[in-house]
């Protein structure tokens, strides 16, 4: 993990409030890891954790949704602008160890880390992506996934409803999930029935991003764990969901 100033290579709007930011970063990155990004001087005071969307040839890409003050500033970045980065942070996934049929399940911008995960997996990978409105960031997955299932609560071109309604854990050897907590809880509960191993990418507000502040903990069977450095990837069955 390193703290440094890097340059923006590009920052592209892919849809409404969804952007892909490419930064000139030469790090060795594991799928599921993230960076603390800060592209401002005074306000807001804290950096923002954003997952690696993909990492290749000295460019790390981040896919993000504009939510508030920080991501709004990110969305205004242009090539050559400076960004402070701290990372790569987190345990990430040792994707090379996973074999067999693998399901990636995402809700909303939870799709962001899935690309780098899909790229590293050797087995047969299916993507299940749920969205509120229209889907985004799907195209790139076609190279790495066998089947792509899309659900949307509002876009009638796709399955109308929650993605969990069209996913069956029985068909898979491993499930990896990233999205809102209630959705991850649902997926974990479904996987438990068939004893399918499931990994979740947890989220929480973060201050330090290095494991020092204890602000980002989540509850697990072995007590409180820091999402930033003990996670963000946890075994689904270890997490004690709050919802």
């Amino acid at each position: 993990m390193e703290y440094k100033e890097v340059l923006v290579y590009s920052n592209v709007k892919v849809q409404d409030d969804i952007y892909v930011l490419s930064l000139e970063i030469e790090d060795d990155v594991r799928a599921g890891q993230f960076y603390m990004l800060k592209a401002w001087e005074e306000e807001p005071i804290l950096a923002r954790p954003i997952s690696v969307h993909s990492s290749e040839n000295g460019i790390v890409k981040f896919a993000y949704q504009v939510k508030g003050r920080g991501t709004k500033i990110l969305s205004s970045l242009k090539a050559e602008d400076k960004v402070y980065v701290l990372g790569p942070v987190g345990n990430g996934l040792y994707t090379e160890k996973f074999k067999g049929k693998i399901a990636l399940i995402s809700g909303g911008i939870g799709i962001a880390p899935m690309l780098q995960i899909a790229k590293g997996l050797e087995g047969e990978v299916d993507l299940y992506a749920g969205f509120n409105k229209s889907p985004y960031l799907i195209d790139e997955f076609k190279k790495y996934c066998k089947n792509i299932h899309i659900a949307s609560e509002r876009d009638t071109a796709y399955y109308r409803g929650f993605i969990t309604e069209i996913f069956n854990p029985f068909e898979y050897n491993i499930v990896i999930c990233c999205g809102p907590e209630p959705m991850m809880k649902r997926v974990v509960d479904m996987c438990k029935i068939y004893a399918t191993p499931v990994y979740v990418l947890m989220e929480n507000k973060m201050a330090c991003g290095v494991g020092a502040c204890l602000g980002c903990t989540c509850n697990t069977k072995e007590g409180k764990k820091r999402v930033c450095v003990d996670g963000p990837v946890f075994k689904g069955t270890d997490v004690v969901f709050s919802a």
Binding site: Y3, L46, C208, V210, G215, T217
Partner: protein, 302 residues
């Protein structure tokens, strides 16, 4: 060219520069290893430790606001024994003075904790009296000087380590608090801890934090923290360690001119992990530019 020196002798301990990292914002040091050169720091202060392991608070633990942040970590820590077993040796490897921040929810906790720490190789105890006092219905030890005085007195009896009492800015009378702590045997005073603040989630119509209140820190608190450091420095004759919202070397110099021997960097570590190093470099540069040979020339100058 002038030659400026940053070293400070404080309670008999040699600090090569006055810039320490504040409790709870720098873990046990190792978390920042590789990100900055920790051996350059003036000293390390541990996350607040209690006699027994604590899991800390449920619910939201940090919330960002304009100019600062609120935290409600709830003193999550592995307990003193596990600290000594698993973390202390690694901390010593950074070759800088190690200060243990000691908390407790009863006077007995503090006393037993200090007894154990007395036998270790740590350099100093920072007594955190901002902990909720379970016997007094949760009110902080740090609010009323009479209660604080008793804690300090009792801890003084069981350790020869230098004791630095860390004051809460929520104290009823910060100057009286400092004076009473010194009377009770404090070798030094550090201030300030976080301010009692709160935030409301207007969509949920609930406080953001499960405990309603949380500790406010960051640049926003600086003018008040600085005022308190100034007042306390004038009132006590033990050395003072100042903190609260320091983010750059100029802030640090303000605290030193207000009377601080040492300063601590807290929330700024999150704002910029290199803040402490940049502050050391900035103080040095300022001293050279202003022809200041030693911090003694400017400390408490106002």
């Amino acid at each position: 060219m002038w030659f400026s020196v940053l070293n400070v002798k404080f309670c008999g301990v040699d600090f090569k520069n006055p810039v320490l990292v504040a409790s709870g914002t720098f873990g046990f040091g190792v978390e920042y290893d590789g990100i900055i050169d920790i051996t350059r720091l003036g000293g390390l202060i541990t996350k607040g430790l209690t006699l027994n392991k604590k899991e800390g608070n449920e619910g939201v633990r940090i919330h960002e606001v304009r100019g600062g942040m609120l935290n409600s970590i709830g003193l999550q820590n592995p307990g003193i024994d596990e600290f000594i077993e698993k973390h202390l040796q690694r901390m010593k490897e950074f070759k800088v003075p190690i200060i243990v921040n000691l908390g407790g929810s009863s006077i007995e906790d503090y006393v037993k904790g200090a007894e154990i720490l007395d036998k270790t190789e740590i350099d100093m105890i920072e007594l955190n009296i901002s902990c909720p006092n379970v016997k007094e219905g949760g009110m902080n030890f740090g609010i009323k000087s009479s209660i604080a005085k008793e804690v300090v007195n009792r801890v003084r009896e069981v350790t020869k380590k230098p004791i630095m009492v860390k004051l809460s800015p929520n104290a009823e009378d910060i100057v009286d608090m400092a004076v009473k702590c010194v009377e009770a045997g404090a070798d030094a005073i550090s201030l300030v801890n976080t301010f009692k603040g709160m935030a409301v989630d207007i969509y949920k119509r609930k406080p953001v934090f499960n405990n309603i209140f949380a500790g406010y820190s960051g640049p926003a608190i600086k003018p008040i923290a600085l005022r308190m450091v100034y007042e306390v420095s004038k009132a006590v004759d033990v050395p003072v360690c100042g903190l609260g919202g320091i983010v750059d070397y100029k802030d640090a110099i303000e605290f030193i001119m207000a009377g601080a021997y040492l300063i601590q960097i807290g929330t700024a570590n999150f704002i910029n992990p290199r803040a402490s190093i940049e502050i050391i470099e900035g103080i040095e540069k300022f001293m050279i530019e202003q022809n200041i040979k030693s911090l003694d020339e400017i400390r408490g100058i106002i």
